[in-house]
């Protein structure tokens, strides 16, 4: 540390207020996702959103656009705050409910604390560069002292990580995302979390580059924890929208593993592997945005028609939601990473980059990367179980409510159209991953400032994996049409067939809930306490107690306050001299 001298000069006021914008290669994947998802949510909203929500969602998209194109600290921060504020209004849409007001408050506190961390991180970098322009900051980053670089990274990680929902700073997310209207939930989980990932990429790959090895390791481990933790909590949840919010934490974890591997490989000087990992990062970012948006929009349709998103009360919706059910199935298959849809392609690429990074790494790093491989494998297995539960209990079987009402068949409308756009994108990207991977490899090369990467043509084509299963499915359907099947009641050992006898979602995941009891801490049959939520609650309780103690100095007497002011002045003068 060279003290204040190394900080250069403070930018002048006019310099400070510059609102530069521009499109960088790094922002392109995120902009593409924003465009695709806003389009779909827009169509969906024609049918099912209140006008005020539509206006807010549009403003929200605009603010996120601002974050992605900002090229100065001031522009970035203004857009970031606009994004937080508008999304808080969306979270508070149903403010007449108490839990919504509490969720909004938690969200605002976390968002503001995070924004302060981000501002501090950007200020450290800007002061070093003597400019608030991202271009200047990036150019000056190579001469940054290691402690300052690490401090900036730590602050950025807290700020962007809490916004992205990385564990253990995720606890606001499963409260805030589900209470927003479905279209807004789709945007919050689908894009806003990814904008936070963009922030992490921006700091680690550009503004504070080159990243030391420790950052890559930190992100890989945090990503693994978030992936496993997110999917475990999603697995046992009975509220469909909250389940999807937890699943967003899982997928942000997978994306973060990709970014961590990229930074790890970069610090080892292996640009080819870093490129591969970065492609995987961008790819999974886009994919999760698409299928998570699809599932939230589908959940919105279910909520509108059934009046609930409680998995234990739904069932058998396949019979009358003739459009939404197949679209939702596409989303479930995609998010479970099952070939040939897009979730498989990007998870597979993340695995590939992890394995490729193992080969060139030193021993302790190898251990971290292999832990991530095992963690990712567990995550994908649990995600499949989770979404088998979701689809099986919501759309298959029989309605679970005691008096299922007769319902009209769903007709094709704008909300189905908007959901269908996302389903079509999931299928197209899944079947022909090159459509996305080829442009992303150019973007990754430009971001890393290396020669065009060898395009990671997937040596495994999703089409070739899925060809025979698809043909088999077709054959089975045709055979049923040709040979016919006799319809009989379900075998229940001779007793009568009732809806209550069928397996519930809670029963389906109960073995896993008991196996992972050391994480869930089940109390009785129903309640699940969350380990990390519990630690957050303790932290809040301690903070509250401390602040209550500190109230001793707040007597309310004006004279005492004046004494404080004079004392402070004396201390300041003494320190300055």
């Amino acid at each position: 540390m060279h003290g204040a001298v190394a900080f250069g000069t403070l930018p002048s006021a006019s310099e400070f207020l510059r609102l530069d914008t521009g499109v960088t290669m790094l922002a392109v994947p995120f902009l593409a996702l924003l465009a695709m998802l806003s389009f779909a949510v827009g169509i969906w909203s024609l049918q099912r959103a209140r006008p005020v929500d539509i206006a807010l969602i549009a403003g929200f998209a605009l603010a996120m656009l601002g974050v992605l194109v900002a090229r100065s600290v001031t522009a970035f921060f203004l857009a970031w705050e606009a994004m937080s504020l508008v999304s808080a209004f969306l979270v508070a849409a149903h403010h007449e409910r108490r839990n919504v007001r509490r969720a909004t408050l938690t969200y605002l506190i976390i968002a503001q604390a995070g924004a302060l961390c981000i501002l501090a991180a950007l200020c450290i970098l800007a002061l070093h560069a003597g400019s608030t322009l991202f271009t200047d900051m990036a150019a000056a980053a190579t001469t940054l002292d290691a402690p300052l670089r690490d401090a900036a990274f730590a602050l950025a990680l807290i700020g962007f990580g809490s916004k992205a929902g990385l564990m253990p700073l995720h606890f606001w997310l499963p409260r805030a995302h589900p209470v927003a209207p479905a279209g807004a939930s789709a945007m919050l989980s689908g894009i806003m979390l990814k904008v936070a990932v963009y922030g992490l990429c921006l700091v680690t790959l550009e503004l504070a580059a080159p990243a030391p090895l420790a950052w890559g390791i930190t992100l890989t481990l945090l990503g693994t924890v978030s992936a496993i933790g997110g999917v475990l909590y999603a697995l046992v949840d009975r509220d469909l929208k909250r389940l999807l919010a937890y699943s967003s934490i899982e997928n942000i974890g997978i994306v973060t593993i990709g970014l961590g591997v990229a930074l790890t490989a970069l610090s080892a000087g292996n640009a080819a592997v870093a490129g591969l990992a970065l492609i995987a990062t961008f790819f999974h970012t886009i994919n999760d945005g698409l299928f998570k948006g699809l599932l939230f929009l589908g959940a919105g349709i279910v909520a509108d028609r059934e009046g609930t998103v409680d998995l234990e009360r739904l069932g058998g919706l396949w019979a009358h939601l003739v459009w939404t059910a197949p679209l939702f199935l596409i989303g479930c298959v995609a998010i479970a990473g099952i070939p040939p849809l897009n979730g498989f392609a990007s998870e597979w690429l993340t695995f590939q980059s992890l394995i490729a990074a193992v080969t060139g790494a030193v021993a302790p790093v190898k251990l971290v990367l292999l832990t991530a491989v095992a963690g990712l494998a567990l995550t994908s297995g649990l995600a499949a179980a989770c979404f088998a539960k979701v689809f099986g209990t919501v759309f298959l079987g029989r309605p679970r409510s005691l008096s299922p009402r007769e319902r009209a068949r769903e007709t094709f409308d704008a909300s189905v159209g908007g959901t269908g756009v996302l389903a079509a994108l999931c299928i197209a990207i899944g079947l022909v991953p090159a459509l996305t991977v080829v442009p992303l490899s150019a973007i990754a090369a430009a971001t890393l400032h290396v020669a065009p990467l060898v395009q990671p043509m997937l040596p495994v084509l999703p089409i070739s994996i899925a060809a025979l299963p698809f043909a088999g499915a077709l054959l089975a359907v045709i055979l049923v049409a040709v040979r016919g099947v006799r319809r009989v009641p379900t075998w229940t050992c001779g007793s009568s067939v009732t809806a209550a006898a069928q397996y519930t979602g809670a029963a389906f995941v109960n073995p896993l809930r008991l196996i992972f009891a050391f994480i869930f801490r089940p109390r009785g049959r129903r309640h699940t306490r969350y380990l990390i939520d519990e630690s957050a609650r303790r932290f809040a309780a301690i903070t509250l107690r401390l602040t209550r103690r500190s109230r001793i100095v707040q007597s309310g007497s004006l004279r005492l306050y004046l004494t404080y002011a004079v004392a402070t002045l004396i201390v300041v003068v003494a320190v300055v001299h």
Binding site: A385, A388, P469
Partner: protein
């Protein structure tokens, strides 16, 4: 072309493996046992029968047997017994491919509204998700020493302590994936204890024939991979010998051991994971094959 021949041979021999193991098991238990050709006759008989389905099931249940068969055939095609011009499935994609078949059957089970099928689906999915890390780590031995994730990388591994540990881990995975004791019991007809059989409880007639045939093909494919992990080097004669040895070993396990309690299964799976992790550790850090 070679790939098609490979699939046809695997598909033709798969019921024989099932029949042979059943016969051996019966002999070990002092029974005369059925002919090894019995699974072919069972399949033919079922194929000729009409299928029954619960009222009101969706197209998912109708399509699932076909998906399962397609997955099994893709698995058979991906085996590295012949040279592939385009690789179909690599080690990582294999885990996801098996996930596709399982997802279809589990959804079908939940669709039937049967509590037995739901229970079996829950157990199947639970243990499949727990075993996935072991499956990958046990098979990635070749990949971590630089061979890539194709199945051919299994040939870069040489026989030694690490490959024995990897095999031990994979052996446990195989027992689970092929529904064998100590995880499952194919001989049982009691709904509450069944996992794989319970999953397909509501299928009958020619639909059950499809599901069972898919199970046989999948089983033989697992045996082929197991033989290659045990005796690395992609030698066809060694692989066939390995398959026979595996069949005998599994039958002995099934005769000598009882099913473990459901909630002890995770402990067995954790053991398998540790074996796989130590094997990879030896390769990476000890430089041991």
């Amino acid at each position: 072309m070679h790939v098609i021949v490979q699939v046809l041979i695997i598909a033709a021999l798969a019921p024989l493996l099932q029949g042979g193991m059943k016969l051996l098991r019966a002999r070990l238990q002092g029974r005369p046992g059925p002919s090894p050709m019995q699974p072919y006759r069972d399949l033919a008989k079922l194929w000729g029968k009409e299928a029954l389905l619960p009222e009101g099931v969706s197209i998912v249940t109708i399509a699932a047997p076909g998906v399962a068969l397609g997955v099994a055939l893709t698995f058979a095609a991906a085996l590295p017994l012949v040279a592939h011009r385009i690789p179909i499935v690599d080690i990582i994609a294999l885990a996801f491919l098996l996930g596709l078949g399982r997802f279809a059957l589990v959804l079908a089970a939940l669709d039937t509204r049967s509590a037995f099928a739901g229970m079996a689906a829950s157990r199947d999915m639970t243990f499949a998700s727990l075993v996935e890390p072991t499956l990958l780590i046990a098979l990635l031995g070749g990949a971590v020493i630089g061979g890539g994730t194709q199945f051919t990388s299994l040939s870069t591994v040489v026989f030694g302590p690490a490959s024995i540990l990897a095999f031990a881990a994979f052996f446990l995975v195989m027992l689970l994936e092929t529904a064998r004791v100590p995880f499952d019991n194919q001989e049982t007809h009691y709904e509450l204890t069944m996992m794989h059989e319970g999953l397909t409880l509501e299928y009958s007639g020619w639909q059950l024939a499809l599901v069972n045939y898919a199970g046989y093909i999948r089983q033989l494919s697992f045996f082929v991979i197991g033989a290659i992990v045990l005796l690395p080097g992609l030698n066809l004669a060694a692989t066939i010998g390995g398959i026979v040895a595996l069949a005998v070993a599994i039958t002995l396990v099934e005769t000598a051991f009882a099913k473990v309690r459901l909630f002890e299964v995770p402990q067995v799976l954790t053991t398998a994971f540790i074996l796989a992790a130590v094997s990879v550790g030896l390769r990476l850090f000890g430089g041991i094959a």
